[in-house]
Symmetry: C2
Subunit: 454 residues, 2 copies
């Protein structure tokens, strides 16, 4: 334990200050596992007890906030000398019948509660009781510790590509070989573009001006500004989470035929689902919804590079035709990317920083703005292309849970894994009723695109 607490950086602080009971600032991940053939994991007690027995905890998972005289009243990080793993690691079960419905309901609740600021800012829930014999792990990490993408990476990297590997450590366990793990630095942040994007926030108000300038520049290439919508209102503290997966090949085929990117198809699927959902609530704006989305600035759509640009994209939700919507999205992202290339790297980075911290935008535009700069964030985060295992249990899927904020009641994040594309929808439960119906909309939208580009 270091004798002096280290002050929280302005970036981390930015995720602490705006946290209220209506706006928890943590990200989550829901992982689904199939047990190794022949084994029974209806009972996770053994795994739970093994987790509680973890001898050494990684530094990231040991640090907690402190504020007092010695830190001049500022938030600072210190090591939690009396870490209580039983508080952080929890064993849960689904009620009968133990379908995905019950799992999503439990995760919605777990994602709604605030993390305890007197302890390291994370929880990990081992969940048994799925009717199909699988088990699940829901992990919750405060944004001040890790952004969503880094959190997903961290969880991925604690898994193995070898189905026969055992003694796979818990994600929170200290690992002697961590230096060899490329991309995870000591404090767990992904190096490279995204890290730089976050650091850019620490540049302060100057950068905020650049974000605003960049966004207004983007706004200029759009047909119009984002319309008012029910997505852009104050929010409450309870969440509804919905998630499902589709074969990546289906998405890839549509993208190829439409001469679009995978990200364009993700946006068009979201657009179709949003249109259906808002029509159902009699709340579809006349003008197209506008999404903010991170894009790769590479031309080959490689999944390897970090997404270092953020653009505003008109989703074409005013268009009834699936084909027309995808082409509208494709053209919108093409224009936006072209204009992004005309900006300096600092401006691009600043816009990315804005994407990584929605509250920065709230600071710029007010909460919630009269005319929102965009209606929602849709992120597509490339993930591992090979199956991963946890002590022989196969990872079937990994769904991201994100952070709705005041004025941004819905977040759509999707991530690829193995042969699948997995969508996670996180919304304010009060503002967005029956959010799970958007899963039906996503499926209908993909099917519609397949027909349109057959």
């Amino acid at each position: 334990m270091s004798l002096l607490p280290s002050l929280v950086s302005p970036t981390d602080g930015a995720f602490l200050l705006p946290e209220t009971r209506d706006q928890p600032m943590h990200v989550g991940s829901l992982q689904l596992f199939s047990p190794p053939p022949g084994s029974d994991v209806h009972d996770l007690s053994e795994i739970y007890l093994a987790a509680l027995g973890t001898a050494e905890i990684a530094p990231l998972f040991r640090k907690r906030l402190t504020r007092g005289v010695t830190t001049l009243g500022q938030w600072a990080w210190e090591e939690d000398a009396g870490i209580d793993l039983e508080h952080h690691v929890r064993h849960s079960s689904l009620p009968k019948p133990g379908r995905m419905r019950e799992l999503l309901a439990l995760c919605s609740r777990l994602h709604s509660t605030l993390l305890d600021r007197q302890r390291p800012l994370w929880e990990m829930h081992l969940i048994e009781g799925l009717e199909d014999g699988r088990f699940a792990v829901y992990t919750k990490i405060h944004h001040a510790l890790l952004d969503g993408v880094s959190g997903l990476r961290l969880l991925e990297r604690s898994l193995s590509t070898d189905p026969d590997a055992r003694d796979t450590p818990m994600p929170f366990a200290a690992r002697p070989d961590k230096r060899r793990r490329k991309g995870i630095s000591a404090n767990g942040l992904v190096s490279g573009g995204l890290h730089a994007a976050i650091d850019a926030v620490t540049l302060g108000p100057k950068v905020l001006g650049l974000v605003e300038q960049g966004l207004r520049h983007e706004g200029a290439v759009l047909p119009g500004q984002a319309p008012r919508s029910i997505l852009n209102v104050p929010i409450t503290g309870s969440r509804r989470f919905a998630g499902d997966a589709w074969e990546l090949d289906r998405v890839r085929t549509v993208a190829k035929k439409a001469e679009a990117t995978i990200n364009d198809v993700v946006l068009a699927m979201s657009a179709g689902a949003l249109r259906d959902y808002l029509i159902g609530l009699d709340a579809l704006p006349d003008d197209s919804l506008v999404a903010m989305t991170p894009v790769s600035l590479r031309t080959d759509d490689s999944a390897e590079g970090n997404a270092v640009g953020a653009i505003l994209c008109s989703l074409g939700t005013h268009l009834d035709d699936a084909e027309a919507r995808l082409l509208h999205v494709r053209d919108s992202t093409r224009h936006a990317k072209a204009s992004l290339k005309g900006l300096s790297q600092l401006q691009v980075t600043a816009i990315s920083a804005g994407l990584m911290s929605p509250l920065v935008l709230n600071t710029v535009f007010g909460v919630p703005p009269v005319r929102p700069p965009f209606n929602l964030i849709i992120s597509n985060v490339p993930g591992p292309r090979k199956p991963l295992y946890w002590n022989g249990a196969r990872l079937d899927g990994m769904y991201p849970l994100s952070i709705p904020t005041a004025g941004q009641a819905l977040n759509i994040t999707c991530t690829s894994y193995d042969t699948q594309l997995q969508f996670g929808l996180t919304g304010c439960r009060r503002t967005l009723p029956h959010l799970q119906s958007m899963l039906v909309g996503l499926d209908a939208a993909l099917t519609g695109l397949e027909k349109a580009f057959a």
Copy 2:
């Protein structure tokens, strides 16, 4: 729905203002049920769906807080027009092996999270998965809606004494016959002494002075003031709850032989358990711990009357001998009651008000005080003497979960039901490790008293 929101009374407000993420201000109840013979309630889906289908919700469970321009920035109550029962009523299951240990762990977690202030301030959790085939209901109500005693009464009164009765309504359902239910007024508060005690708080600062005066008066009859202890420190937001039951006849027999009251034996059991627990942590103060406890001012120890007096009692935790401790407690409560009788009814009521709202005491004495006025609150709330049923399921036990506050890290509440006395211990999880070991201490204390007074 009324057009104008009604302002929150100063009493209710008193329970809203001090609420922080470290100090949630809700009370809880854990009810254990045995299903009717021959029926299987391993799966509570049907009961859950029936609960969600409740047509009309009682006014108390519909009102939510609001604050805005129309209420001049003050908290006010308004009806939640879009009440979402799925938010309030939740279906949960215990992980394997489904022992009391897993049930208490789940209730500890549920009791740790804040209620959503944008909605009516209650939650009800139907819990399946107990290994013995029983099921449980954990209910959580904000203190601004109901104090703990009234909450227990409300839950009791929603049950039936008839094992063959069916269609027993949910506690939150509106009931046409509620006028006939003695003691529950329209807003759900118990009439009589306790209600008056709460109302007394609304008298304002004058009463605070009386509470202080009354307490100092009480303090004068004690051998000394309450010692500093680990029970009287700042707290964190996570809770540990432990509960168990003992036969009331065992307690009654000891009381009779020692010429003491049942409440004296409850205090002596708590004293023995506290002594063992604090010795285990090497934290037993040299001076005796002091408890604040409500007592009946009647001489016949009738369970019927509301406890309208509150006294400070020296627990004798400095004494090693079980017999000596009970006699010490007995003499202490006799002296305190005698002195209470010398006070005016307003003073008595004011002290009771202090008991019902620990935070009022924090206001008086500072948080936490250098020398605490008392070390903990131990309440013994008489309950129903006949078995109760919920649609044929027999209520086996009902354990109260209370509110630790800054400077009061532990609360002991017990309630009688049928032939049993049920203890509920609610503590700050960080301040009080292994709180569940106090259950062993309570059992050892009762056995020790039985031997001493054989």
